[in-house]
């Protein structure tokens, strides 16, 4: 069968190196993936079409691209699933990273972030003679994060990274969780302290994008939330992150609901103007994705706000 593709091209060596869209038709099978279609183009139509690939089975993490606007693995996306009625499939390079050529992006920033989280096990004390004896569930629990293939798909579509390149980002934070939650690691405290800084776990806007696009079910956002809990439990309260959590609880206490706008302002501080300005696009994008309530200058409290306040009152007495 035939499939139509619109591929974003960019040749840095061209006389006039600008990106453009090029339409192609590829010959594929019913079971073929978008990567197969791109391979067909490269093999039989234009061998200068650059795209990374290695395993073709969704395990090596090479072929992250944007298909019809959303980041994913080309080899995991079946042609018929994105173009059931012969629609044209749009293929572009991943976002939030520089493009080197056609669909090939520069992964250096991605790996730099991974390096930032000290991505190796730091066991405590002397190694045992045999294996570490740990609860079996603690290892199976890590299967999920260990499933990360470092493809960059989550990073491509992360809304927080889009506005602040200092954010460590979903993939590296999921990796950080992998160590923080490993019973064999002796440095969780130090890890959590570092992650609690600016650029770390509190900069995620919880837009869910990474959970949605991750081809391996790693659910980075959930790991970030788990890291937040661990950080709070470890006593990292009077910091950037904790301010965020406090603002969160204040917002709910005062209005009975989460006021995302005020949340950002209180966390960052009323006087941190550049950072606040940088937040604006996030809010806009989140709006488009319907993840923020429609803006209103004031958040009206919900009708039963006193109930919420009572819950808070009780909790505070308990603490």
């Amino acid at each position: 069968m035939q499939v139509k593709l619109k591929v974003r091209r960019y040749n840095p060596e061209a006389e006039n190196p600008v990106a453009y869209q090029q339409e192609f038709t590829a010959e594929v099978e019913a079971y073929s993936s978008v990567l197969d279609a791109l391979m067909y183009l490269r093999e039989y139509v234009d061998d200068s079409l650059a795209v990374r690939c290695s395993c073709r089975g969704a395990i090596c993490g090479s072929c992250g691209v944007r298909i019809n606007g959303q980041a994913t693995l080309a080899c995991k996306t079946k042609v018929v699933s994105v173009a059931p009625h012969g629609e044209t499939i749009t293929v572009e390079p991943m976002g939030n990273m520089p493009v080197l050529k056609d669909l090939v992006t520069d992964m250096k920033p991605f790996w730099d972030k991974v390096r930032q989280v000290t991505p190796w096990l730091q066991p405590e004390g002397l190694e045992p003679e045999g294996e570490y004896v740990v609860p079996p569930e603690s290892m199976t629990h890590l299967n999920g994060v260990m499933g990360c293939i470092m493809c960059g798909v989550c990073v491509s579509d992360c809304t927080a990274l889009e506005v602040d390149s200092n954010f460590i980002g979903p993939a590296a934070l999921a990796k950080a969780y992998r160590f923080a939650a490993d019973p064999r690691d002796g440095e969780s405290q130090e890890r959590l302290r570092a992650l609690n800084e600016y650029g770390g776990i509190w900069d995620c806007t919880r837009c869910m994008e990474c959970v949605e696009v991750c081809p391996k079910g790693v659910a980075p956002m959930d790991r970030i939330m788990a890291l937040r809990e661990k950080a709070m439990a470890a006593g990292f309260t009077n910091t950037y992150g904790a301010r965020h959590a406090e603002a969160f609880s204040d917002s709910v206490k005062e209005g009975g609901r989460l006021d995302e706008t005020m949340l950002a302002i209180r966390t960052i501080g009323f006087f941190n103007v550049p950072k606040l300005l940088s937040m604006a696009p996030v809010a806009l994008r989140a709006l488009v994705h319907r993840k923020l309530p429609m803006p209103s200058p004031f958040h009206a409290p919900i009708p039963d706000v006193h109930q919420v306040q009572r819950i808070f009152g009780r909790l505070e007495k308990k603490l």
Binding site: N11, P12, E13, E29, Y31, D36, M39, R42, E43, Y44, D46, D47, S48, L49, A50, V51, R52, C53, S54, C55, R56, G57, A58, I59, C60, G61, S62, K76, K78, L100, K101, D102, V104, M107, R115, P119, W120, L121, P123, E127, E129, G130, E131, Y132, V133, V134, P135, P136, M139, T140, L142, N143, M146, G147, C148, I149, M150, D182, R184
Partner: protein, 567 residues
Amino acid sequence: MADYDVLVVGAGLAGMRAALAAQERGAKVAVLSKVHPVRSHSNAAQGGINAALTDRGDDWQDHGYETVKGSDYLGDQDAIEVLAQEAGREIIALEHMGVIFSRGEDGRLGTRRFGGQQRARTFFVSDFTGQAMLHVMFEQVLRAGVEVLDEWFVTSLVVEEGRCAGVVAIELRTGKLHLLRAKAVIIATGGLGRVFEPSTNGLICTGDGMSLAYRAGVPLMDMEMVQYHPTTLKGNGLLMTEAARGEGAYLLNSKGERFMERYAPTMKELASRDVVSRAEQTEINEGRGVDGCVFLDCRHLGKKFILERLHQVYEEGKAFANVDITEQPIPIRPGMHYQMGGIKTDVDGRCWDMKKRWRGVPGLFAAGEAACVSLHGGNRLGANSLLDTVVFGRRAGHCAAEYASQEPLKTVSQARLAHEEERIHALLSRNSSGDSVAKIRLEMGQSMNEHLAVFRNQEGMETALRKVRELRQRYDRVGVRDRGRIFNMGLVFALELGAMLDCAEAITVGALERKESRGAHFRTDMPERDDEHWLKHVLVYHTLEGPPRIDTLPVTITRWQPQKRVY
């Protein structure tokens, strides 16, 4: 020009393990890889890694014996002893590095069963063992600060005065050609699956390192021993791990019979791979298949179990075959999977013989699937290959570091670089005249898969050899259309095809030489094993002109005398 003590070509499990070992011994090391290390094909290993741990009541001699029997007595027993004895220590080392091996209730490492073995001695991480190991190995490379040159493609080895003196490589990001000098070079470039079409291997498994070493003067050994895995998907050839059968899945024919009962009454589905693949092909050939396939049936294992222990298989079945394995048997067939043969090395990875029984290149080492120690002989046992990469990767790394500490850097003339520039320039400036790299690759792959598969015969193999030689002539005229430097993947493909054609020829020549049936090499015209004449390895040497030169080498036997092989 950069200088190193030890340069490792390939950053899969074998390459990274070697680099770590060499660095540990004080060598200045860099590891080069045509893809980022974690994109290497070691990722694909799902099932697990073997080791006989004595404190678990297992015995390395059992593991050794089963490996020897699996190899159809072609594996060198001195090497197999090393493999089996050092396995336990390596598993513990991997665990300490951070691999999240599955555990038993007692919190200690758990095992599953794999083919060709009586005991459960396969350690695993769900069904993504290779990936879990590869990522941890890369973590260790980061920790140790080993220099990584990723997306560098090695195009040739530099040999000066009969010794390996470095490599020439393209930096893909810039297209620049570099000469890297080193006192020792370790080749860990993995397998050659793409020589066959289809194959379970990824697109990057193109036998580059085998061709590099071959052209530099090292023989390729046991190349005729190509493993067909019993359970691969029909369309794209992707693998369904042996762990499925290890965990209890059945093989059924079109009548719903568990046909393995007839071929291997004791081990059934868990007989060694060559045996199971031949059985399946026989069923299919005799009309008890459906659409060229038989079935893998996991239903009785239960959904919960499947989702926990065979999650990737479940996902793969859904994504690539549209089958929910918890509810339906999945059609599978034998497919090309692994190259038992490769660059001849000794047990320390050296590509030359201290006793001068075969000719090689001092200063060059090899490890992993690219190498042939020979551990796997005529047929590799499942889960022995990951073990091979770490045990022999480490040994090669240590030995190379030691070698480098006693060797001066050699002077390399810049003419080497210029010569390589010219070769590449020629590829980039030729006009393809209608032919293409992809067409040649496909024709080679199909021909190899037709004539050098589970069943072989003289006539078929001769046809394949003629085909490969004709394709080589076409290859010498083919060109690359992309004339750019940056990420010129067309150029990479063309260079890879050159390597694959070398491998295809060595496989075919080796297979024609072996006039018996042993392990994966089954000739319908000579169906018996012939220990009297063929209990030996076939070595293939590259020659500058004319066909390759063939030699043989006796098999090393230490404690296990050849016997008839029944499962």
